[in-house]
Structures are given as structure tokens and as C-alpha cells.
Amino acid sequence: MSDETKIDLELDLKGLLCPLPMVRVSQNITNVPVDGVIRAVATDPGAMADIPAWAASTGHEVLSAGKEGDLFVFLVKRTK
């Protein structure tokens, strides 16, 4: 998925402790157009639950969430 997906905004959330990665994604979601995608890279493992929970409760979509080495990488789509 990540290979083909067009990324509208890259967010470097490395070093931020939870819940700040989720806060930054939320603050930036309106900086991409509807259907646009944010690629967020975090180092706090808590983000693996926080960002999907935020997306589920606000109605946005996590296209993928996974670990790449020491990093947690998310593709989040703005749905509305």
C-alpha cells in the first residue's frame, strides 16, 4: 500500500511522547485535502494504539500502521 499511495504531508513525530503523536496528526489532518494522506513517523510505541483509536473515533482512516526498524509508520487518510 505505502509504495503506491500518494503522500500529501509527511509528519516527523520522532521523539514525541504519547499522546503528542496523535495530537500532531489531529492538528494536521485539515492541512491535507479530503482523501489526502498523511505519512507520520513516530518512535513512541504507544502511538500504535493511540493513532488508530483517534482515527476510529473521529472517522478518519488508517491505511496502514506498522513497524519499520525502530520506527512506527502510519498512513492516515482524511475522510471528511
Binding site: 511522547l17 504519547c18 503528542l20 510505541p45 504507544g46 494504539a49 493511540d50 483509536a53 473515533s57
Partner: protein
Amino acid sequence: METVEMQTLAGVIDKKMNRQLKQYIDICARCAICKDACHQYVGTGDFKYLPARRAELIRQVYKKYFDKTGRFVPALYEARDPDDNLLDELYDSTYACTGCRRCMYYCPFSIDTAWILSVAKAVLIAAGRGNEMLGQLADAAIFKGDNVAMFEGVITSGFEEIAEEVRAITGNPDHGVPVNKQGADVLYVALAGAHSIRPAAVIFEEAGESWTISMFEAANYGYFYGDPEKARLITKRYIDEAVRLGVKEIVVPECGHAYRVAEFFYEAWSKEPMPFKVSHILEKVDDYIKTGRIKVDKGLIEGTVTYHDPCQLGRNGGKFEQPRDIVKAVTSNFVDLTPNRAEQWCCGGGGGIVAMEEFKDVRLKSGSKKVEQLKASGANILACPCENCRLQIEELNEIHELGMEIWQVIDLVVASMPLPGNKKSAGA
């Protein structure tokens, strides 16, 4: 705004106003002593951040609808409708308030402005003007709690990684992070971040504590948002888990508001007695050090260490001495900030304000007193338990080039423990 809508909002005030709050509104002498106590007013000079002014907005609506003097001669008593202008001002003055209650400490009548502002938050939420970010954080926590199965895998694998780090630090292959251990004495309710679990796990394991962790976290943005029902639901998750696991004690992390919620508010919200003891992690650590359950070495931390009392833990939680005793146990070079304990200046980062981008400017300006205190201390290391305080002070540290190291107290404790894998060393 429609008259009927304004009446509904005024009704929220009436419902929330108990005798004590009504008394606060009546007895304020407009002496403005509180203005010099509020870090936000001192840092910005902006009238809307003057504590008595914040409360005044609620008083004006109360007078208009529920007090005959205000009803009949509104102009004389500055009685007002909760219209859009009032709500705009109320939003700024309410959500910017860090709930530090320093104004209450200095007020000759001990008027609790932060409590009055909890009524303001209820009005704002009823008007659809609750802070969006805090509401989202609360909803995400509730969603996580309702869908534990969905997150169990990622949370557990995070615990496993932390357990490996714990073994590497302590050099003990039997150490780890026990998860959902039935019959443990202590349930540690951490924050979502690994930083609040790793050092606590090292300390619990080294102390030989019978402990466990669960899937639920202590942070409570429902409380900052101002919705007691959301706040209760977030807390209830770990209370229920503690009952299920049969623990004797809940230990909350360094986070100041989490301690206050568990220790002081939950029983009132749920109207149920807490079936176990609630402790702050620094109470436990202080006890482990004093009883010799963990060993700390004063020689491992270089430099001068000072301590910031987070408002929720200190002035509002009454925990002044245990954190200081811990810091004094890990260093011979401790200096206190001036003023300290109940008179401690709020750093400006509490109440969820670090998550609300719209208050960034007032937040940073309101840190001016903390910056003065830190500079005057001459310390190069700050021990600071609360997560929100640390975020704020780290930013102040950078902007004002203070050159300080900001440490969680339990990280400082682990750094001072003579452990084989201890690479982190303060002040070095």
C-alpha cells in the same frame, strides 16, 4: 443566538452551582490579589486571564437569570446573557486556565476559580464549544478502552520490548513486565508512552514488588475537557481491571492529574467507594528507598538538581515531601526553587494546554515566572514528575537557552541505581 438556547445554557450553570460555588460568586471582593498569583496574567498582562475576571463571566450570567438584583437591574450588576461574545471570552479564559489553583491559595477568601471554571466548561460543552482537541483525546481513550481486543496485540508487544530493556538495564534475566497478573498486590496504571513504564518496571522489579500492568492507561483528557462522564468512563476501565485482578493497591504514574483523578475525584463521580488504596508512584519509590528495597548511589548524578512541584501533585495533591526526599536521596546537591511547595509557580503547561495549539502563545508567555525561578536556582538538572510540566519546561528550556536537563523523577532514580546496564547518567 436564540433566547431559548441562552436559557438552556444558563440552566447548565444553575444545575452545576452548589452552595459553595454560589458563595464564591457572592463573596469575591474584587480585590484583585489573585492577579499577581496567576502565571498567565503575570506573563501576559491580559485582563481576560485575571482569575476573578474569568469567574466574573459565570457570575454575570448567574446574576441575569437567577438573582433578582441582576434580573431587575441588569446594568447595575453587569448581568449578561450567555451570548456568542460572552462564550468567546469564556472559551479563552476557561480552557487556557491550567487549574493550578495558585489564585485560590492567595485569595483571602480561598475562592476556587478553577472549580468555577469547571462550570464554565460544562456551559461551553453544552453550547457545542468544548475544546475539540481535548474532546478527541478523551474519545480516543474511551474508544481504546471499549475495543481492548483490537489493541491488545500492539500494546502487549510494546510491553515485551520494554521488558527486554528492563532485563538489559538490571542484568537480571528473570525481570520483566508482568501483564494482567491475577492476584498481584499492585496494579501500575501507566501512561501510553514507554517512558512511563520502563523506569517504573526497573524499580518495581528491583524492589521485588508483586505488581502487574494492564491494557489501560492513567491519562484522562475527559477531565481536562470538562466532562465528568467521559472522565469517569476513562477511569472506570482501570478501576474495573483492578477489581478483576484482585489487587490491593493502584499505583498511578508521575502524571499529576492522573493522581488527582484517581485519589480525589473518581469516588465522587462514580458514587462508589474505591475498594483499594491509591498511591502515587513517588510515594512507593520513596518507601522503597527508605526501607532499603532499592539501592541508590548519590555519586552517580553530576551537577545541581532542583525540583518543580507540579500543581496537581503538590498544591492540589498535597505531595510535597516524598518527591523531595527521593531527589535528596539520589544527590547531595539539591537546591529548592523559590518559592516552592504550596507557593510554587505553575509552569504554565497544565490543564491540557500543551495539546491546545491555539493557546501556545499565552502558554509560553505564562512560563516567565518558571524561567526566572529556574535561572535563579543555579541548578543544571530539573527533576519534574508531571508529563505536561516537562513538555512545557523543555520548550521553555530551549527558547530561553537555560541549558538544563529535564528529568522524570523515576528516570533520575534509575540513573542513580548501581545497575549493570545503566547507561543513562544525569549531568554527565
